[in-house]
Symmetry: C2
């Protein structure tokens, strides 16, 4: 049996791979700004918020702070950014609404169709650093038909720590080689592949905007490379 | 706002409440027995298997053995029962297939329609002692449209231990009073209600077969009592 024929579950990176966080946060910010009369470069705000993503998780990975889920990390970053962008006068309810923009991110145009087709033959699950509530709310809002919402929070370890991948496979009752990580990020796929996961690279060349320089193509030997989730479904015969 | 108006997620007990384990195990056993030429009273076998369910979890709850998921507890019970029922000569693959009959249980006739309607307005999640893989496979097989598969395994505590309920609410990003447990079992609902969950009793008077004596009606003050999941959807305006 070929390596791909043994795959029973597809585990998906979410931010950037399934949903378009940059456009989502920018548009939520603009709508919020118009309503509240706040004049901010929301594209720069989105990039700065995402810029704090890896550093905020690193504090958890390195044990500097105890386990903290992504909603809480996003919120700490937001509080710092509001100060940096000189946005004042927001109450708790408004800050919480803005923080939950991550729960309302839009899918890429091919995501829902591709996932729906892939779900016919495979278990499809999240393997995201997002917390369960964020991913569940996002799925309901965007129509993402997950079989299971797993990843960092249930493993209490952020990718690329091995536990995030291994606990997800274990909860699905599968060996790593029966799982395929689908991601738009080379480093995520390399981390999963090292643990025995199969790997599928789907580039999202505008994830970081028009001047994106990284993750434009597969930089390693992955099991599959697909142009979109629909192409992935085609390649997997779904 | 009324207590029910604050509910954002419905968390479901699964075995007996959503699926009919007795008929499912009996029919799987009969088909297996015909194929293998094994003559066993499969209804008695199903009852005996389920009879070992609470005692097997008690060993985990009381710390007699470390965390062990339900597939593994089911398997240990199966191995003992095969001896008790004098079934011999099964190989590992056959025993594993039989053990996974719990992954293939049929829903009650109203389950899929009711859940599909309830999902329009609420987050619907499992809050089951079943492990994630069992529940994910069951959902794919039976068409149960869960938003999230949670419960004992992610909490690493079996109901009625408080952590099973509280961790599920926490992972959904909700306070206990924003969650409603839906169950066919009085004791499960009492345990959840004590922790602040809202409660809905849906009787399944043939769960234990034609002579069922327990859980025929609500024995406590629950927030809702419904005749079926479709009735529950009606009562909740879905």
């Amino acid at each position: 049996m070929s390596a791909i024929a043994e795959v029973k579950a597809l585990a998906f990176d979410v931010f950037g791979t399934v949903v378009n966080w940059r456009t989502g946060i920018t548009e939520e910010g603009r709508a919020f700004g118009r309503e509240k009369g706040i004049d901010v470069d929301w594209e720069a705000f989105a990039d700065a918020w995402r810029g704090r993503y890896q550093p905020s998780m690193s504090r958890v990975r390195e044990g500097e702070i105890p386990w903290t889920n992504l909603d809480s990390l996003h919120r700490a970053s937001l509080d710092a950014l509001l100060e940096e962008f000189a946005v004042t006068g927001l109450d708790e309810r408004e800050k919480d609404h803005l923080n939950r923009a991550w729960h309302r991110l839009p899918p890429w145009p091919d995501s829902v169709e591709g996932l729906t087709r892939l779900k016919r033959r495979y278990v499809i699950a999240t393997l995201s650093n997002g917390n369960v509530a964020l991913l569940v709310n996002m799925a309901k809002n965007a129509g993402l038909p997950w079989d299971a919402v797993l990843g960092a929070e249930v493993a209490r370890h952020y990718k690329p720590q091995p536990q995030a991948y291994l606990v997800t496979a274990e909860l699905l009752g599968l060996a790593p080689h029966e799982c395929m990580l689908v991601a738009a990020h080379n480093d995520d796929l390399v981390a999963a592949g090292t643990l025995g996961f199969r790997t599928a690279f789907v580039p999202r060349p505008s994830e970081y905007g028009p001047d994106q320089k990284t993750d434009l193509e597969a930089e390693h030997e992955f099991d599959l490379v697909a142009a979109s989730f629909v192409d992935l479904a085609e390649q997997l015969g779904c």
